[in-house]
Symmetry: C2
Subunit: 386 residues, 2 copies
């Protein structure tokens, strides 16, 4: 799990990105590299050419990201000899649905896009999940490349092959495990993130520390000001380490049969909160920050984690920033109902991965609903007290 | 590629099916058995239990098949301790769309069906493709079992993992490669097929002879009366051999990177015909029968196959029965346009696998559109002359 910054690395002269790091997600035949560096979006064409991908590419992106980075990526691809069709969708989680997917299938077919195509997701988690689902299902699966432009997507959603869309009755209920051929993570794109989007990514960063790496947690705590400011060197280090940790987990358990479930820390409560707000009130990362507070309290209530660790976790999350309200009427009963139908629930029992100390977490375990209700009430009070 | 009728075979006492054959589709970790026999539907519960599948099952079937076989399969599952949710859809290719898929996702979610479920397709190719697509995408993929009840599904579509739905702009344009955990092919269910459905399956049977096995072609020609009558012993032999041939091809090329393309013989023209009739005028198997005539003529026109073989192929197809009209206005130009946007077209060129003699076929090769037009005109005349 060491960083090999030079191994199988493109020479600096051809790939102009500075401080480029390459991390490999080891999945046998389906292994793939993650390129992390400032400006690496401008090398997308060269990277795809080196992978010998077919001439035709389709960039799926949203209106905001298109304005900022579509021209750069398109130019890089065209200069390397690729054809580019750009499909630009509105921004927001509400786009991650079957109707939008259908519209994209239609656009691909109208443009007579065949099987020999690479679908490139340029954007945040929504674009990555949606474009990945299209890549997984268009003509039974075509090439897929991720160019994540948000911190959340760079440290989490672009790595590991989870793709999918939402259903009115549940988040990510329709989807697949479908690995990209490479991930191109340009840290320059993080400079243009809104504060709210930075916060979302930092939630996942903190999560990695809590579930897997106490030393990394300490480092994030110490460097927090630089990291929150997206200071280039600081954020590149953090993004690379998060990718390594995620790659480590995914390599050992691609399809979430055991270990991978630890990545869901904060997500059981988090998904329920997102759904309660109809995916509009809270962003995914905000919901996860809130979810981690509730789930750490749950672990503490079950005497699994010390109060000191609970406080450290609460403090760092509060320092990153938390929404001061949920944006919807907080109903413990409804949230529990949602969790019960979550795809992580097993035999109708709500399961959680619970931190035992910073850097160590359990596999999924059932928790009785009264205790979950306590944790939700605690979270509600916590947010009110901010 | 030998039949091993006893190997890893359930003992006759527990599985009551008579003359049970087991064929294995060899795909490494994802290998799976095909059980072929009269009455084997009544052993579905025992088979699933032996595979240690989770308690919850969902049977997807259509109204016609439900009336005939749903009770048998449900009883078998319940007796073996499974819970059963049945989702019954209208019959017909027009159901294989995104709207129907969405309705099924909704029904699964409303019933709080989690990840630990087995989706069972009970029916013909439409039900298998649609239920398989649901299994491949519900909660990122759940267990899948096929119980094909038509000859076409038993000899072709239930084996090999191609699942998917149609798009208004093209057949099977949305889908995945997703292997079942087992296939349970009950030859008793073939007795209730309409003549039209028998014909459809026989098209694929003849196809296997042409592309892979001259001896099998001879056998089918000789036994044709019994086979057309679905005489139990005759049809069981034929179904088993077809499954073996398909398993052989799929094991060597699961994702259609080379060899598997030979299974598309008759399908390039066939799909275009189906689409021209909006998937209503012609059934898939009828379209393939017609497509094989056009594509064999094409091979003959390119001096790749002898006239004698062309006649033998035409004769057996005509003996099986061909529709006497297309059911839509036959436009050579429109059919060619459709083939050009077929997912089997490469770089805008229409490709065909072409028989060189009975039992031997090429890999996909481009054919110029004028020659394709000739073959379509020939087919049109051929049908008029019936």
């Amino acid at each position: 799990m060491k960083i090999n910054p030079q191994k199988s690395n493109p020479p600096r002269r051809t790939l102009k990105a500075r401080r480029l790091k390459t991390i490999t997600v080891a999945l046998g035949k389906r292994s793939y590299p993650i390129y992390i560096g400032a400006g690496v979006r401008n090398s997308a064409g060269k990277i795809l050419k080196r992978l010998r991908l077919p001439k035709q590419t389709v960039i799926v992106t949203d209106t905001i990201v298109a304005r900022l980075y579509l021209d750069d990526v398109r130019r890089s691809l065209v200069e390397a000899g690729f054809s580019v069709l750009a499909i630009v969708i509105p921004q927001g989680e509400s786009q991650k649905n079957l109707r939008r997917a259908d519209a994209i299938y239609t656009e691909l077919l109208r443009n007579r896009i065949g099987r020999k195509v690479t679908i490139i997701a340029l954007g945040g988690g929504v674009v990555g999940d949606l474009a990945g689902f299209i890549a997984a299902t268009y003509q039974r699966g075509v090439n897929f490349v991720q160019i994540p432009t948000t911190l959340l997507a760079q440290v989490d959603s672009s790595v590991g092959g989870k793709v999918g869309i939402n259903h009115p009755l549940g988040k990510n209920m329709i989807g697949a495990f479908y690995q990209p051929l490479c991930v191109i993570a340009d840290t320059e794109t993080l400079q243009t993130l809104s504060e709210r989007e930075r916060v979302c990514g930092l939630g996942e960063v903190i999560k990695y520390g809590i579930i897997l790496d106490a030393k990394f947690f300490d480092h994030v705590q110490k460097d927090l000001a630089d990291i929150i400011a997206m200071q280039p060197a600081a954020i590149a280090r953090v993004a690379a380490r998060c990718c390594e940790l995620k790659a480590y987990v995914v390599s050992r358990d691609e399809k979430e049969e055991n270990l991978r479930a630890i990545l869901n820390f904060g997500h059981t409560v988090g998904h329920a909160l997102e759904q309660a707000g109809h995916f509009r009130s809270l962003k995914h990362g905000e919901a996860v920050l809130l979810g981690m507070i509730a789930e750490t309290f749950l672990a503490h209530r079950l005497k699994m984690i010390a109060e000191a660790d609970l406080r450290r976790i609460e403090d760092i999350i509060t320092a990153v920033s938390l929404p001061r309200s949920f944006g919807f009427v907080f109903s413990v009963r409804k949230l529990i109902d949602t969790m019960r139908s979550d795809k992580k629930s097993l035999g109708g029992k709500i399961h959680f991965v619970l931190p035992q100390k910073i850097g160590k977490i359990t596999l999924p375990m059932p928790v009785n609903e009264e205790t979950v209700a306590d944790a939700l009430r605690y979270l509600n009070q916590f947010v009110k007290g901010l």
